[in-house]
Symmetry: C2
């Protein structure tokens, strides 16, 4: 099952050096979950061959422009493409008013149903659930209401082992094994584990942008396979990070290490960094399995 | 005096082939007048080295996303840059509600005064005036209220001839000559024309996007030096142009020819055109001094 993240943008607010603001595509079995939607997201999607029609739902962390201003154009383009399928949108409540203003002017026409659910930016909760994922939200501490997201793979039943004696089994028996039920074969009860692969760990992806360094996030991030965490500044600008309620690369790495995540992805780079290696080096000094979120790159969860 | 247009984007609504939606910078004596502001305008400005701080006023033709969705991000960036100087914004009235919704969410903070004036999309009028330009607006016929703009250079007085005997003149006399007043020199009245250059033609730039082919525009476009006119389709798609209230390249050229403009610039290309030469060839067949609006290129008025 595909479970990977493609970066469409990873820059902070000021446009710098051609870098685009935050937007990611989480691809789970070729169903796309878009996370944040900075200005130019649809332009980046076209550039990297991302099919917009595959987008199932969109998650907006907060209403600073570099995280949502690509949304209105994207919705318009989906309509020009003739989308009929409903689209799910999760965002702070005020986004509903913003969308209403754009629709009232006649400039935004939607060809499909937009199902909006306001995120809880005060307390953790289960935000959404479908056949592939359970999606959790949790508050982030930023200058305006802000939420992070955790995408957890759902158990889809057991997988039959290719080397097991499956020829003798009926379809009903195979379905029972997939549900984890023992079966009776030639008068004998046989454990389902004889025929099935051991369960794999369910994969999880967590997304934290924008936020001040916040140790209370550990409970939300514990043991996730891939963590995206903003790292707007290097430790040299710690005071600036605190004032603007952002995180340094060192702090992001500390959090990743304490939470024992599999891998850390950093992004939301301040425009002052021409070369991002200084951010990467700072984080890797504390947590070696760290990578830079780079536009167009894909990371397996 | 510099009087030139730089193209930041010239694509129609659907993002295609990395082309950006409509945005232009009219540079008059290094004061910038931005015309339309499609998504990604600030990204393009950064790419082409356009200093955002030089923007004096912004003109939005209509509220389809490909003509205004870059505005909110641009205003945010100007604020992050610490702009203090007031900014003038001319647009259909509904844009005020849209801006209010973005500001209410806390996502759009302005560090400067934004002076908004609703355009008249029903009748021609003088929209704005400063020491360099008089700016006219006139209705365009599109699916929603829409306005075109004409930027006319203002007479700034006469220029003194370098080869005239200026050494003998007082500052007061020189100022009188610049105002076109005759002076008295050694008891004799001398015509100001002895000392000044002949008046140059005042330059004008007109902008028409989006609109159905509309012959009644001739009175607004008569004799302008440079005309930008949308040419979304080739004549092959005339029916589609009429349905969507757009213009073909042939029609734009006919209008330019009838209005006896100096030069025609076409743009707002449909995403179906990988190669824009077909649009250019169609227009040049009727009106040879036609050019394609291409991102990053600058056209003298």
């Amino acid at each position: 099952l595909t479970f990977e993240v493609t970066i469409l943008g990873a820059s902070a607010a000021l446009p710098a050096l051609g870098r685009f603001p935050t937007c990611q595509i989480l691809n789970v079995n070729h169903r796309y979950y878009m996370i944040d939607c900075g200005e130019g997201a649809q332009i980046q999607a076209a550039r990297f061959g991302i099919k917009l029609s595959r987008i199932h739902s969109i998650f907006i962390s907060h209403l600073h422009g570099d995280h949502y201003l690509g949304l209105i154009g994207l919705l318009g383009t989906l309509s020009l493409q003739g989308r009929k399928r409903a689209l799910y949108l999760y965002a702070p409540a005020d986004l509903a008013d913003i969308l209403a203003a754009h629709r009232k002017s006649g400039g935004l026409y939607l060809s499909f149903e937009l199902i909006f659910k306001a995120t809880n930016t005060e307390a953790p909760e289960v935000l959404a659930e479908d056949d592939l994922l359970t999606i959790y939200t949790f508050p982030l501490r930023h200058r305006i209401p802000c939420a992070g997201f955790r995408f957890e793979e759902k158990r889809r039943g057991y997988t039959l082992r290719k080397d097991a004696p499956l020829q003798a089994l009926s379809i009903q028996q195979k379905l029972a094994l997939k549900r984890g039920e023992d079966i009776v074969l030639e008068g004998k009860t046989r454990a389902f584990t004889e025929f099935t692969e051991p369960l794999k760990k369910l994969r999880t992806y967590a997304y934290c942008s924008d936020t001040i360094f916040d140790i209370s996030l550990l409970s939300e991030l514990n043991n996730v396979d891939l963590l995206y965490h903003e790292a707007t500044f290097t430790q040299e600008y710690l005071t600036r990070a605190q004032e603007t309620m952002h995180t340094t690369a060192l702090q992001a790495a500390l959090l990743a290490k304490e939470a024992q995540v599999g891998k850390l992805l950093i992004g939301h780079y301040s425009s002052r960094y021409n070369n991002l290696e200084v951010l990467l080096a700072e984080a890797q000094g504390v947590f070696p399995p760290t990578a830079l979120a780079i536009e167009g790159e894909t990371f397996k969860v």
